[in-house]
Amino acid sequence: MPEVDVDEYKDIWVFIEEHAGEVAPVSWELLAEAKQLMDEKPDDEELVALVIGSDVDDVAEEAIARGADRVLVADDPIFEPYRADPYGKQFRELVAERKPDIALIGGTTTGRDFAGRVAVPTHAGLTADCTQLGIDDEGHLEAGRPAFGGNVVATIKCEAHRPQMATIRPGVFEPLDRDENREGEIEHVDVAVEEDETVTEVLEREVGDTADITDADRIVAAGGGVEGDLSPVERLAEALDAEVAASRKAVDEGWIQHARQVGQTGKTVRPELYVAVGISGAVQHLEGMNDSDVVVAINNDPNAPIFDHADYGIVGDLFEVCDELVAAFEDADDPQEVLA
């Protein structure tokens, strides 16, 4: 194994993921958390944001406003749209040149796609899908991640290798608000990739037509109990100003698109309110929503496991319950009126 002098490695890097100028929310969440980690780091080290893309000056400026001390920008049309090989190569070159101590990447399909391309050639330690970050007494990164379906939290360390890399689950940390008065340095770096070196080509990219439920504050999810009729769920979602989601059963039956599936084979969500309508509560589903603040369950089976994992539940016909709930909330201008 290559010997590495860990003392040579400094700074915390955060990859800012953007597509066509739109930044993925997880990047700001990560920047905020990294800023906290900086408290445990020597004062001479910096929080560096890494922006790779095309025409990304405003992204770089926002990174400063959101907490970065320095932004490294690789700006070139070769980087739009995203592809693993040019992003991987660019990041790798920068890592080799600048030796960051810690590099954090949001655990999106993009982040998880190219993180390995950096970690492997640099023989870095990469911990994936983290939900907790810390720095121990010796200055090593402690990356916590769920294992065995979320029932265990494993803490991973990488003591002898650098950089210490981690991909972080979106929606776990809170972003910092923009502070326009913050100052920092924006540095443009050399582009290390040529088009004829690339081995992939994006033929088509269509986003925005499907919802991203991972951002929603409130979700109403449909399960097998709706038996093909999503209207009660949709109406309730509208009344509560919530996104519509679904269990695997509903998606497998073809009643709703896969992008709205919550669970082990779908998305992980952490809304303030999660209403499970006609969902039995299988472990694979729970894994995707168990960190919601408040869980409400509506099911006609009193023995359904979901009731053990809900804060409030009601046993009844979901079609009736949803309609009544809609009436209760729609009539009230102020939700607090419901309490009267």
């Binding site: 693993a84 492997v120 330690g125 494993a154 499907t210 100003d241």
Partner: protein, 262 residues
């Protein structure tokens, strides 16, 4: 490269999550009783590979990196239609994290002269999803992850994939050779044919490969070659829920309003 593509599929044996129970009194996990099964996303990987076999006559070889007790997953791969399967096993691999694991599988991919290496999106026991990109990085090959659908174009030496990304999808063309990670649940796995199942379960013996045969230096794999170590494992506190079941919808609406989440 030969006329027909050579496709390898990396599969893994994992504990069956459905059998892993939570003791209702203590909240701890009980894995001991869990049966060993094929990692469910690998079913989708095998299906994608077999579809390539159907469409362009690819030769499909499955392999697994594991102890000799992992051979049932290879039997299943052959029963489903793979042309052959290999067990990659060596004491030197013990304790490997994703770095030496992806290195080993990269060597195996090259050993079989593969044009395409297909893997499941992640394993249900580790869930990192980092091995396929790691393999691509070790080999410096193109990679396609979160794949919903594959469109082989042998005439162009390319594999085109539809990727499932946040908020939508992408269609990406990759030059061969390429590593593919198939999205969990993104295709309909076929059942094994009766006679192939009989063959696989009664007569089939997998190819056996160890570190030496693959040309792997033992210092590059195993616990000592793993950059990450597990510092600790704590049972996550089960999420505390109120578990209040109410009698009327009015009560339910009131509870929701009181929580202040609408």
């Amino acid at each position: 490269m030969t006329d027909n593509w050579t496709v390898v599929v990396g599969i893994k044996q994992v504990p069956d999550e459905d059998d892993v129970t939570i003791d209702p009194d203590t909240g701890t996990l009980n894995r001991a009783e869990a049966a060993a099964i094929l990692n469910p996303p690998d079913r989708n990987a095998l299906e994608a590979a077999l579809q390539l076999k159907d469409e362009v006559g690819a030769e499909v070889i499955a392999f697994t990196m594991g102890p000799p007790t992992a051979t049932p997953v290879l039997d299943l791969a052959v029963a489903l239609g793979c042309d052959d399967a290999a067990l990659i096993s060596d004491m030197a691999f013990a304790g490997s994290d994703t770095w030496p694991t992806s290195l080993t599988l990269a060597y195996a991919t090259e050993y079989f002269d593969a044009d395409v290496g297909i893997f499941g999106e992640e394993t249900t026991d580790s869930s990192t999803g980092q091995v396929p990109p790691g393999i691509a990085a070790h080999l410096d090959w193109a990679q396609l992850t979160y794949v919903e659908d594959l469109d082989p174009r042998p005439e162009d030496d390319q594999l085109v994939a539809t990727r499932d990304v946040e908020g939508g999808h992408e269609v990406v063309a990759a030059d061969l050779p390429v590593i593919v990670a198939v999205g969990y649940g993104d295709n309909e796995p076929r059942p094994a044919g009766l006679h192939r199942k009989l063959y696989a379960e009664t007569e089939f013996e997998p190819i056996e490969l160890d570190a030496e045969e693959l040309g792997i230096d033992p210092d590059e794999v195993g616990l000592d070659a793993s950059p990450t170590q597990v510092g600790g494992m704590d049972t996550a506190d089960p999420v505390e829920r109120e578990q209040k079941v109410v009698d009327s919808v009015e009560d339910l609406a009131a509870a929701i309003a009181e929580e202040g989440v609408v």
